[in-house]
């Protein structure tokens, strides 16, 4: 039963990874940008919420609602200033540009907030501490459930948006052929900017969950990026539902790995990631050949 409970906790953890990965998946799917600053943007979002909580004294949830428009604007501006220019210079340039952005964000956060560890768990009310014990030793925390429900809602809403609305079609059309999209009257610059704005807003949601479920500091970003990246790859690059399932698979692998040994949790996630890479992307034959 502890195994079953561990798997359940893995689903909750994985939903959190999926939210972190969602924006990464959007930016790769629409613009083929691998945003290496994604984790740092999530942490930046957490700090924006933190600042609002400190100054206005409101609950973390209200502070997050206030931070959201700030992050949307930030994403839009990030696209039209930095990313758009770097995209013109080929596929590798955005990788370098976002790598640089990652360092800039980390150092600015260090400068503004010191390297101290912070948490928003205290300002999120009873949600962070309540839980229910179910039959058979299963434990459901309120926060875990909220994260899972929000994750499913975010992915579901995105899916509906892309499949049913004209702006969603415009986004898919631009993702598939930006040149042809321009020729039918779609402003691809604006579509890209809104895609990044969405990605940054959802990254901030991921950062917010990080802040209320555990702790964060100015250099938490890269770790979050690795988990998000693994979730995207496990789920199949650029597929939305795949990213949700990939995040959950990663979470379950980590909590089951922790059953083997507490130190093995993160490693189990990495192993799953490697296995998926080998199986899906044709590395299997190379491994077999090397083994022979």
């Amino acid at each position: 039963m502890t195994l079953l409970n561990a798997a359940l906790q893995g689903v909750f953890l994985g939903a959190f990874y999926a939210v972190l990965a969602c924006g990464l998946s959007i930016m790769f799917g629409v613009m083929r940008i691998i945003n290496l600053a994604h984790g740092d943007i999530a942490v930046l979002g957490a700090y924006v919420v933190f600042v609002i909580v400190e100054h206005a004294g409101v609950s973390a949830f209200i502070a997050f609602a206030a931070a959201l428009p700030v992050m949307v604007v930030l994403g839009y501006v990030l696209q039209i200033t930095l990313l758009e220019r770097s995209l013109k210079a080929g596929i590798l340039t955005p990788l370098l540009a976002t790598f640089g952005l990652s360092i800039v964000i980390q150092n600015l956060l260090q400068l503004a907030f010191s390297p101290d560890v912070q948490s928003l768990g205290g300002s999120a009310g009873a949600l962070t501490t309540s839980s229910w014990q179910l039959a058979g030793g299963l434990s459901v925390s309120a926060l875990g459930l909220v994260v899972l429900v929000v994750a499913v809602l975010v992915f579901g809403a995105l899916q509906l948006f892309l499949a049913r609305t004209r702006i969603g079609w415009m986004m898919r059309a631009t993702a598939e052929d930006a040149d042809a999209a321009e020729l039918v009257g779609i402003n691809s610059r604006s579509v890209y900017a809104w895609a990044t704005a969405m990605a940054v807003a959802i990254a901030a949601l991921g950062g917010f969950f990080l802040a209320i479920r555990s702790v964060f500091d100015p250099v938490s970003g890269p770790t979050q990026l690795i988990f998000a990246f693994e979730a995207v790859v496990i789920g199949g690059m650029g597929s939305l539902w795949g990213t949700l399932l990939g995040g959950i698979a990663l979470g379950v692998a980590q909590t089951l790995g922790a059953q083997v040994h507490p130190q093995f949790a993160v490693m189990a996630g990495h192993l799953l990631f490697l296995i998926v890479l080998i199986v899906r992307f044709g590395g299997g034959r190379a491994v077999l050949r090397a083994a022979r």
């Binding site: 079609w169 059309a173 040149d179 020729l183 039918v184 402003n187």
Partner: protein, 236 residues
């Protein structure tokens, strides 16, 4: 009335000069065929008019407005639509989504999903299927329909018969004849000379990026076109 006026247009891809000082007028209501061998600069010229290729120098004037620096999506709003070479549909979108996504900057006019499906009845059954699952002829019909959705004043067609079976090309041209007879202005690129002469009122022949022949389709004899096409007797 001159709808499109291209003045001394130069287009380059790096060091390669694809279009050399081309000047071209298209009157409202006219159908002009651009012909020429592969690499003559026809596609580049159309893309420059549509805004997909930024010219090196020269001007593109549409209905009296200089649009040389305008991005493609703003030209659609002014009434220019290009059916690009190779169709370039959005593969994961359905037929209907491909049409409706092109209506964001539509001008007022007769074309909507309904009237496009009436002109291309073979798409009626396919409207909820992804564009990638369609045959070549059906895809070409969607590409033309998608361009019509914006209710263009100038329709640019780039090799709509490329890669299609002759019987399908006939069907596509039958639909086009209907569209042209409704008074649209059309500038089309066509490799098939007979077809170009049949559908167009005027023929412009490009050779190595230059206009070498420009004449009404009616009085044109085939030998002169062939000479211009291959550059056998270059005009002085």
């Amino acid at each position: 009335m001159t709808l499109l006026n291209v003045e001394a247009l130069d287009c380059r891809y790096g060091l390669l000069q694809a279009v050399r000082s081309v000047s071209l007028r298209v009157e409202a209501g006219e159908t002009v065929a651009l012909i020429g061998a592969n690499g003559a600069g026809k596609t580049t010229l159309l893309r420059a008019v549509a805004g997909a290729h930024r010219p090196h120098s020269g001007r593109v004037v549409f209905d009296g407005v200089d649009i040389t620096r305008l991005p493609a999506h703003r030209r659609v709003a002014l009434g220019i639509a290009l059916v690009p070479e190779g169709r370039r549909l959005f593969p994961s979108l359905t037929v209907e989504e491909n049409l409706r996504v092109a209506a964001s900057r539509r001008r007022r006019g007769p074309w909507n999903v309904q009237s496009v499906l009436e002109v291309f009845p073979m798409l009626q059954q396919r409207r909820r299927r992804p564009a990638a699952s369609l045959s070549g002829g059906e895809q070409q019909a969607v590409a033309i329909g998608r361009a019509l959705m914006s209710n263009p004043r100038l329709l640019l067609l780039d090799e709509v018969s490329l890669g299609l079976a002759p019987i399908v090309v006939d069907a596509v041209y039958r639909s086009l004849a209907g569209i042209i007879s409704e008074g649209s202005t059309v500038l089309l690129v066509e490799q098939d000379l007979t077809r170009a002469l049949r559908v167009a009122g005027r023929v412009v022949c490009l050779l190595e990026g230059r206009v070498v022949l420009e004449e009404a389709a009616g009085g044109l004899d085939r030998d002169r076109v062939v000479n211009a096409y291959f550059g056998l007797r270059r005009p002085a």
